[in-house]
Each structure stands twice: as structure tokens, then as C-alpha cells.
Symmetry: none
Subunit: 224 residues, 2 copies
């Protein structure tokens, strides 16, 4: 049985909720379980049946692709407030690539099983539209990551900038707004903010108002 | 006015057609035009308003991303029977990356303008589900391309490219310059030339000006 908070999590994030029949809402809740995953454990791999829709109550997931030789590329992360749809890729017939999902931290997840989600997608066009729309958000995230890797310019440039500026002051922290950094680098504030957010999610920096703290100088240097 | 064949093209490929009201069908047809594009002309760029939904009557389109330095990576191609949805990216609010679209050959396209398509997406959930589902197909294509580039050794990638391209035309010969192949593969001309020279020394291909002849298809296949 789901708690009141858990039901609220479902109804708040699944924008199709009000377009479900009472019966469909019941099915949905009956097929939703709460699962715990330990830090660094594998939640989903290409070889296993897909685990279904995931909504983190707490913790962070990492979605990545894996080469035959074991090389990994992180596409994006999933946190409370996000919904992971690619973990239900087996029911999205247009998704033909394999992804893996790990728990970055200890996680508590609401998990809607794949067969039930698949049946609801087929029955209810709002569920189908929601699922595919969510996937396209992740398409944008994945393309952004790919462009960083393939075109390799701005992450490198920003890393160099942060290292240079902090080297000048001998401090680990840089007191500049994103707007100021953008101006120095001949870029746009949004571009700087987005990359800093990415750096932060990778544990390279910590961002607070008007200040950037370098938390992993060594890893930042590997970008350069 | 659309011809009978053109209306058939719309109704056959747009799987939501039977879920439109009569009025919506009329709107759809009223906002669909037939447009011609010359070989190598640009159909869509990041800077321009998006052109809307595209359905090729004939010809081939190339969808690619472009780096600040002008490097191109072809994500996929669109041919008759396909529908291009990313050309309507401006009405898909979850798509935040920029793409460019060129005409690979002379093209004749059915083009549904963006404002009309956007309005229909908002009015009719079946249109919305269709649009996002189509985008996720392209997500799979793009991920495949990215994995080729990021994970695969170049000899394997070039072998696949030569086999794919010649399979399309049913010929043993490919009429493309090394520069053009590099552009399609998101690589550099020198890299392509070097690998082709290696293939040639291995007796896999014969290279002449502007043409590559596959001389040992079987051996080329062993690379894949």
C-alpha cells in the first residue's frame, strides 16, 4: 500500500493523472511499489527486463550508455521531482538503444511495473503522449551531453577559465556571477549557467549565490 | 490545393488522421503546402523559424547538428515514407537543441506550417502523442549515430558507411569525395583518406577521383 505522500508524488508528477479513469488510477497504484537501492548498485541494464517507470522519493540515479569495451557516457541524472521513463524503454517501441541506470546515492524509488504501464499506455492516449514527451526531454539532455563531448569546446574553455581565475587569487573560490563569467568568455549567461550546473552535478564545483567553489580541481584539470 | 495523391500521402503517414475532426482535417490540409528545394540547399537552420512538419514526396533530406566551429554531424536522413518532426522543433517545447536540415537531392516536400501544427497539437492529444513518438524514433537514430562515433573504431564505421551507401543504390561504387564522406561521418577528410588508403592497400576498395569502388565486399563485411 502506498502512503498518502507517495500517492501525492504520483499524482503531482504524472500530468496525465486526471485523464485516467478510476479503474486506471487503481491499476496504477496497485502496480506501483516502493523500492530501495544501495549507492552504486545497478538498477537497470541492457540485459535485464526493464524495470518500469521510476520516480525517486529521494536519491539520485545516473542514466548512461555503455560501449562493448566498457566505456561509459553519462547522459543525464534523475533526482526527486524527475521521472525516469527510459527505464521503461521495453514498452516504448521507438526506443531501440540500450541504457544502463545506477544508483548514485542510496535511493528510495516509486516503481510502476512495465506490463501495467504498457497496458495503460495502450488504453489511454494521455499516458502514451506523456511517456513520449518525457523521452524527448531526455533526448535534449542526451544531445547536449553528446555535443559537449563531440564538439568539446565550452566545457574545456570554462574549466580553463575557472582554473586560471582561481590560480590568480590562490583561492579555491571564485566570486563572480554567471553573467560576469559569460561576459569575460564572450558567451551567454544561460550557456555558463548550464555548464556550471553540469560541473556541479559531476562534483567538480559547488555553486552558491555569486560564488563558485572548486571542489575537485584534479578532475577539472582532466577536462583541459 | 493538394492533389489526391498528396492527400493520400498525408492520411497514410499521419497515424492520427482518423482521430481528427472534420474541421481539424480541413485546417491541416489548408496549412499544408508543396515546396521544392534544390539539391544542397538549406531547408532549416537554428537561426530561422522552424519550417514545420515535412513529408518528402521525393528526394532525401539530411538532419545534422553543427558545432560553433562549423563541424557537422549527420544524425539521420529523411526519405519518402518518413516524416520529419524535428523541423517543427519550435513547437515541441521539450526539444532544446538546434538542428539543421539540408536537401541532399532535389526535393519535393509536403510542408505543414508550424503554427497550424502547434495549434492542432494543443487541441488534439492524438497529434501530440504522434509528434513526440516520432521524435523518440529520431532519438534512437541519433543515439545510434553517436554510439558509432563515440564507441566504434573508425575502420568499422567507414566499412559500415560504404556498405550502407552502396546497398542503398544497389551499386558497387560510391560517387562521393573524401570530404563529403567526412562530413557525413562527423570526421575529418584526412582521417577518411587515410583509412580509404588502408582499405585500398588491403584490396577492399579501389579509389579514383570522386569515386570509391568496392572490390571485396565479403572482406569489408568482416570488419563490421
Amino acid at each position: 500500500m502506498l502512503t498518502k505522500d507517495e500517492i501525492e508524488l504520483l499524482t503531482n508528477h504524472l500530468t496525465f493523472w486526471n485523464n485516467l479513469t478510476y479503474k486506471q488510477k487503481d491499476t496504477f497504484m496497485d502496480h506501483t511499489s516502493v523500492n530501495f537501492y544501495k549507492k552504486d548498485s545497478s538498477i537497470h541494464t541492457a540485459d535485464l527486463d526493464c524495470v518500469g517507470l521510476l520516480l525517486p522519493k529521494n536519491g539520485t540515479l545516473r542514466v548512461y550508455i555503455l560501449s562493448d569495451e566498457g566505456r561509459e557516457i553519462t547522459l543525464y541524472r534523475i533526482r526527486p521531482g524527475d521521472v525516469c521513463v527510459l527505464s521503461a524503454a521495453c514498452v516504448l517501441h521507438t526506443i531501440t538503444f540500450d541504457i544502463s541506470i545506477d544508483a548514485v546515492t542510496d535511493c528510495e524509488l516509486l516503481q510502476v511495473d512495465s506490463p501495467a504501464f504498457s497496458a495503460l499506455m495502450q488504453e489511454n492516449i494521455y499516458v502514451e503522449a506523456y511517456a513520449y514527451k518525457k523521452v524527448t526531454e531526455r533526448f535534449s539532455d542526451a544531445m547536449w551531453t553528446m555535443q559537449q563531448i563531440l564538439f568539446m569546446s565550452f566545457d574545456k574553455r570554462l574549466a580553463i577559465f575557472l582554473l586560471d581565475e582561481t590560480a590568480k587569487t590562490g583561492s579555491h573560490s571564485l566570486k563572480m556571477t554567471h553573467e560576469e563569467i559569460a561576459r569575460y568568455m564572450g558567451s551567454a549567461r544561460e550557456v555558463v549557467s548550464r555548464m556550471l550546473k553540469y560541473f556541479s552535478s559531476e562534483g567538480l564545483v559547488q555553486i552558491s549565490r555569486g560564488e563558485i567553489l572548486i571542489t575537485d580541481r584534479k578532475k577539472l584539470l582532466t577536462l583541459v
